[in-house]
């Protein structure tokens, strides 16, 4: 297939209380094999998915947060995070995992995958897609 579409995976829910965040990641990983133009959006409670230091041992759950750091290897390198959603929850970029990707075209320089955008900027990202999948 030579069609390249813009796919956006929209994440608006907190992790662990429900499975949507985890099963969204499974779609993203599989989808990476299809060579589409992939972006992820994190807004509302979805920004909680990216917090660092998640430790699920005592709760008896599977910690899937390390997967976010592997996304670069799958060439998923555009993680749009909404500033207003962070602000409302008292979070800053420092509270989130440091997620990077290696730019082959720039001597494998490590570059940040998280792109913080305003609410208006997020609306622009959303309006620029062919397929929007919501989780």
């Amino acid at each position: 297939m030579s069609i390249v579409k813009k796919f956006l995976y929209v994440n608006r829910k907190a992790p662990y209380g429900t499975i949507y965040a985890q099963e969204a990641l499974e779609v993203v990983l599989i989808g990476a094999a299809f060579d589409q133009d992939v972006s992820m959006a994190f807004l509302d409670d979805g920004v909680f998915q990216l917090t660092k230091g998640q430790d699920t041992k005592e709760a008896g759950l599977k910690n899937f947060s390390p997967t976010f750091r592997a996304l670069g290897d799958y060439e998923v390198t555009k993680l749009y995070v909404e500033q207003e959603s962070l602000d409302e929850r008292g979070l800053t970029l420092d509270d989130l995992q440091d997620i990077q990707w290696e730019d082959e075209d720039d001597d494998y320089a490590e570059k940040p995958s998280i792109i913080v955008v305003s609410r208006a900027g997020m609306a622009d990202v959303m309006a620029d897609q062919d397929v929007v999948l919501s989780f």
Partner: protein
């Protein structure tokens, strides 16, 4: 126009599968094509043949099976989501050493790639969920 449909919630518990069914029927009735219906998350539970809903309620699985037969719909249940939730066909049951299967007529189990493929091929992708 070609529609791709995602159903993300199980039958009865959420309205998602009912809304998706109504949408698909209306799309077919107005001359559109539905290239695939992909059942993800708890949506996989729509495809069990073991459900026995009250007789005075709608029969959700049977509705989908009948619609699939009439219009040759491709009803795909995500294998990863299905394994987690206990929805199997005979192949999967054999492969996993399980002694029973519970998939209904008209549904098939396949990988998440079918969701992406649907998104690529359909003109519009619409999700019914919670």
């Amino acid at each position: 126009m070609k529609f791709g449909i995602v159903v993300s919630e199980g039958p009865y518990t959420h309205q998602a599968s009912d809304s998706a069914y109504n949408f698909v029927k209306a799309a077919l009735a107005t001359g559109h094509e539905v290239s695939r219906v992909f059942f993800y998350h708890d949506g996989v539970n729509v495809g069990t043949r073991l459900s026995i809903p009250p007789q005075d309620d709608r029969q959700i699985q049977e509705q989908w099976t009948a619609l699939a037969k009439e219009h040759e719909l491709d009803l795909v249940i995500c294998i990863a989501a299905a394994q987690r939730r206990g929805l199997l066909d005979q192949n999967e049951a054999d492969r996993q050493g399980k002694d029973a299967n519970n998939i209904a007529d008209g549904f098939r189990i396949s990988g998440l790639g079918q969701l992406i493929e649907m998104g690529i091929q359909a003109d519009r992708t619409i999700t019914f969920g919670d």
